[in-house]
């Protein structure tokens, strides 16, 4: 059983209700005239309270601050009452471009194109327009560099970039990697036309 909310928790809840953007714990501590550690504890307790009581609001730590949002359970109803969500899904090209910017930032467009093997121009332009990435100076060769924005963190439910999973999690399995290597070598030998080229069928898909 969780105790009744303290005065600090009530204050924090009110402040978060009023604020449309994530608020840093430090700013909340200044406003509530409380110690930072008290505020952090208060926020955690408020989050537990909302969760335990299965309330319609969720307290979330996003983009370096704290913010209240509606519970996903309410989404169908919210959709009937309000406009449809403002974030249409990303296309494959946009998502790939965004993933490269997120993990390798700051990164230039030519670099993105090199990794993807195809041009990233229109995808980058759309991500810029949607405010998920922004310019971050120039590379030594004069190409515009990109980084992700706070809106990106918020849209993807991340408190900070550290919350992104380790990219090695997405590496192909050793078996797949071995298969790719095999296929490449065989293609190379076939092109060289050497007598040692194995005379066997290509690996079945």
């Amino acid at each position: 059983m969780i105790d009744e909310a303290t005065e600090l928790e009530r204050t924090l809840e009110a402040l978060l209700f009023l604020s449309p953007d994530p608020v840093a714990a430090e700013a909340l501590a200044d406003a509530a005239e409380a110690e930072l550690h008290e505020v952090v504890t208060g926020l955690e307790r408020l989050r537990e309270h909302l969760e335990f009581e299965r309330r319609g609001l969720v307290l979330r730590e996003l983009a370096g601050g704290w913010v209240l949002s509606s519970h996903p359970e309410a989404e169908p109803a919210a959709r009937r009452l309000f406009a449809r969500p403002r974030t249409p899904p990303l296309t494959a090209a946009q998502a790939e471009t965004l993933a490269i910017v997120a993990y390798l930032q700051p990164v230039s467009r030519p670099e993105i194109a090199r990794i993807r093997g195809v041009n990233a121009e229109s995808a980058a332009a759309l991500l810029l327009e949607r405010g998920m990435i922004e310019e971050a100076g120039r590379s030594q060769f004069g190409a515009v560099l990109y980084r992700t924005t706070d809106l990106f963190l918020r849209l993807f439910g991340l408190a900070s970039l550290q919350d992104l999973p380790d990219p090695s999690a997405f590496d192909p399995s050793p078996e797949l990697e071995e298969e790719l290597r095999e296929r490449l070598l065989r293609a190379g030998e076939a092109r060289a036309g050497g007598p040692q080229a194995p005379d066997e069928a290509p690996p079945g898909a």
Binding site: P20, H71, P89
Partner: protein, 256 residues
Amino acid sequence: MSAPSPPLRLVDLELDLDVFAGPFDLLLTLILREEIDLLEVDLADIVISYIDHLESRGELDLEAATEFLVLIASLLELKSRLMLPGEELEELELDPGEAAAELLERLLAAHRYREAAQHLRERLAEQAGYRFRSVPLPAFLRRAALPAARAVYAPERLAEALGELLTFPPAVDVGHIPVSKVTVAERLTHLRALLRRGAFSFDEAVARADRVTVAVTLFALLELYKQGELSWTQEEPFGHIQVHSPAAESRLERAG
């Protein structure tokens, strides 16, 4: 290039280079078929041969010259590109093992970020159910936290910038620009009046006049000379200028 062309005018240009001897258009063909390495062709020699060719003919056919310029410019561009270390060339120089390793590295990176992209898309879809207040705080509730603001510029900096804008710039001194008070037409009238009384010296015409008036009077004098209304004599540089009517001059000549 595809149109059935009239006989190539450059066909007459015979070359004798280190790597090739023969007509220019054959050289072009061989280069395009990669039977001759452009890197080994000395383009400056071709230009010199062409200039010699022009000289021997003694005439410049503009169309042929244009054609040559276009061709030689394309060759120069092609050659300069070949000389630059391009990406493609580098790849060609890799041995098959290295090339495969490099390619594998790229495939793996592409695979990694494709998977990461898939993860991001799923994450975005998961987040679709969370909505935030989308209205900013009303103005009366907003409060700029002044104590939290840190001074970046000294206030004097602002005052200075504004101060400069508010002061009137000093009036520009135009004293050195002479105000033209005298016109050529006036001086023409003046000279004609003097001429009617007979010969006169230029010094008389500009007695007590300022520099501008002297200059304008000289213009008027030249103008009248051009019209044939007067003539003058001057014995030596910087000497007196005696002005008289042309009729008087002819009388003088007859007398002399």
